[in-house]
Amino acid sequence: MTTKTGTNWVGAKYNRKEDHRLLTGKGRYLADLSMPGALHLVFVRSEQAHARIKKIDVSAAKKLPGVVTVLTGEDIKNKIKPMPQPVVQPALVAKYPRHWPLAVGKVKFHGEPIAVVVARDKYVAEDAAELIQAEYDPLPYIGDPEKALADKSNRVHEEWDDNIIFEMTFTGGADDASRAKNDAEVERIFKSADVVVRQRFRTHRCGMTPMETRGALMSWDDSDGLIAHVTTQRPHIDRLALSDILDIPAEKVRVIAPRDQGGGFGVKAPFYREPILVAYLARELKRPIRWVESRQEHLMAVSQERDQIHDIEIAASKDGKLLAMRNRGIADCGDGCEGVYWGFLMPFLGSVELPNAYDWPIGDVKLKVAVTNKSALSPARAFGELPTRFAMERAIDLVAKKCGMEPADFRRKNLVAHLPHTSITGEYFDSGDFLKVWDNLMAQVDLKGFRREQEAARKQGRYLGIGFGLGVELSGVASELLVPMESQPGYGAATVRVDPRAKVIVFEGDAPQGQGHETTVAQAVAGAFGIHPSDIVVTTGDTGTTPFGSGTIGARAGSYFISAAVMACAELKQKISRFMIHDLKIENATQDDFEFADGEIVYKKNSNIRKTFREMVERIIMAPINMPAGESGGLEHTAFFEAAKPMICFNADCAKVEVDIRTGQFKILNWTTSEDVGQIINPQIVEGQMQGAVIQGLSNTLFEQFIYDENGQQLTADFENYKLANAADVPDIKVTHAPTPCPYTPLGSRGIGEGRPSSVPGTITNAVCDALSPFGIEIAELPLRPNQIWQLIQNAKKKAAD
């Protein structure tokens, strides 16, 4: 561990500040918070996927001693404004389904809340929930997105005239005429191209369920209003939404994300219906209300993502140059009733990111999103793009093979070679060096040697394979994208407050869930002021004390939040420097002539002129007399950071596998990555993000799957049936770096981690297909399971025998 105080904290391995409390059981997660007299709230959820509610009998539940109140949709529909509300509605043209926190009239998926019980004891609340009897008139289950798109008679939302929530063309300009011209040109290229590949790819429904479920603990006071502790990635947005929906003046809503949250990965980013009801009841009953979601509820109602189909076509020249791409995407977004995201924003962004880092001359990319009787898609790390990356990375391998090229060589030939670059779907890539990252990966992987090894192994009946994948990912989400996409600003904000004892408090309006912000921002601030990271404390996620932020999303911390903190430090350093010039009567000095290091402020042109950081800050805060002209006392600054254009990071993966063709089982022999995360702030935290992201990608690809039966019953609402990867299931990952500092952030850092799982499913499936190339097996559907592989081997053998 580096212990030296200095300006080199950025880039140093420094043990996390968060860990001590978390290792000793002193973390404070939502379920660990308490308020005197808090009541327990339990939701009753629909047992049917699509049905009219005939009657909900709550009489027995109400009579149970200890029960305070029971409500159904009928009780609240005239008292709570329905969603959507503008604050959680994107600026994209779409249908936004009207809904209340509890089902009104009919239920639209298995797991939709239909009633709520509030009791003094949580065991009694559960007892009462079991006494509630709902009677339904079943309606036809709408479960297949393609059929749903075509079906106008059976509708999830009866006030609509079809089941299409969103459709969009991403290529060819803004008007119909230019798009028609573009699409005709794409068609012309396909007709004349040497090589054309067409394939349908399907990615199953799975997501990023965090270890801590959702929850809320809220209290009401007639003069102070609502205090809402909520598991959330975006407390400032939740505050505005609760204020608007419940007609509480915004100054009387304070949302506090717990200091410790047990993971989020996007799942805690939406504005969900459940907290609305907790807030409503806290106000109605004037008693604190606590809701802690069960795992079963969680897996039924949220954390489901992916679920996209892509019919992709690629045209290439014989010598392996990409000429054009056409894609028709379909997504199954469930009922779409979910604030901020509405189930369709993930597939939307997935289509934007479909071109990946390849240099496409032209393309025709369209998407349709259907509503069905399933839980609304909720965001998951590798937001919307895990399915499009799977489709693209697999399709690239198919094209390469058809051109007779190594897929690795084909990739390199078609990578965007010069940045900045704007993709055919309009995504802006600001900076970096894709070829450098790729070449670094290839330097780790002896491809020619592997091919020899593979050939020798095949002679012994062993099937080895190598697979590649890559991904260009968002480094923060610029306003340019976030304002239309989520009606929210993209800037990062940080308040830096220096205290008279030379300690620094950083206030962050976003709400981390394990990313280590307390440590990385402390390193950045320590570096700026030349003090020690242990002298810095960080407050996050409390709307009562922190500057406005749109939330911990899209790898915003390393790009936007920390950049804002560094800007605030720079502002304060200049002020301190002006006081130095004044107090020490330094002639001809400017505010940039001072170095902050080792707890001292040194005049660069004469290092004998110095003061300690502590004496200067104490002087400015506590003794604001005899000051430079126009100055005031105090040392606190809030800065907002946003780059002029969106920013990216980039990564590439290589996996080697061995497939046992008798069983279809395969073993990952090794996994190597190459990353451009720009200037690293803490290498250990970066490594942890990468390890975790790749394993999440593998867990999605190999194990996790939400399954609905033919009646829309969700069969996978527990960890027995919805399997996450465990330690024995997965390999160690070798993470390597080929960084190019980002020129648009003050430290050169890039936000990393969010999109990182997306290249994993293509990489591993490419490796398995490479191993099975003697059988001509090309897998186009996830999950990737031994039984599926075994079946494909049997089919191939049968075909060969026929």
């Binding site: 561990m1 043990n15 996390r16 968060e18 860990d19 001590h20 978390l22 290792l23 000793t24 059981g25 002193k26 973390g27 404070r28 997660y29 379920a31 660990d32 065991y123 990023m208 369920t209 965090p210 270890m211 801590e212 479920t213 410790d260 949250q261 047990g262 993971g263 990965f265 069960s294 795992r295 079963q296 869930q513 394990g514 990313q515 280590g516 250990q684 935290i685 490594e687 942890g688 390890q691 975790g692 992201a693 790749v694 394993i695 999440q696 527990d718 960890f719 027995e720 996450l724 465990n726 330690a727 024995a728 997965v730 160690d732 990952i733």
Partner: protein, 156 residues
């Protein structure tokens, strides 16, 4: 229906009348107020976040009733550090960045603390197999394996 139980947690005796259906995990969190023991899979026994030691053996406290622990000694994550000093296992977790959100960590520590007593010189495969009963969503497990291996070395 209630029953009076006497459970020693981290050396402190809790004698209390509790409903017989009260889970041990709820006794630890709500009666004893030790919230380091976490609930993630909600009483399925799959995730391992609620793992504690009962008379030194790692058990999932959501799969036991408080009454079943009557007369027994429970150690929770709060009982690992002595006199404010992290145990070698806890310190190794910090040094190797073996936790991110930290929600699964207490259960992993309680399981691995027992594991290392039985396997003072474990292979990576043994560590990974020993971790099957604990789910972690953030780390991808590699740093946890590094930490456990290093803790074994420090303890030997």
């Amino acid at each position: 229906m209630n029953k009076t139980v006497k459970i020693t947690i981290n050396g402190e005796i809790f004698e209390q009348s509790v409903p017989i259906r009260l889970l041990l995990s709820d006794f630890i969190r709500e009666v004893a107020g030790l919230t380091g023991t976490h609930i993630s899979c909600t009483y399925e026994g799959v995730c391992g976040a609620c793992t504690v030691q009962l008379d030194g053996a790692a058990v999932k406290s959501c799969l036991m009733l408080a009454t079943q622990a009557d007369g027994h000694e429970v150690t929770t994550v709060e009982g690992l550090a002595k006199d404010g000093k992290l145990s070698p296992l806890q310190q190794a977790f910090n040094d190797h960045h073996a936790l991110q959100c930290g929600f699964c960590t207490p259960g992993i520590l309680m399981n691995m603390d027992e594991f290392l007593k039985k396997h003072p010189n474990p292979s990576d495969d043994e560590i990974r197999t020993g971790l099957i009963g604990n789910l972690c969503r953030c780390t991808g497990y590699a740093h946890i394996v590094d930490a456990v291996r290093d803790a074994a070395k420090r303890t030997r």
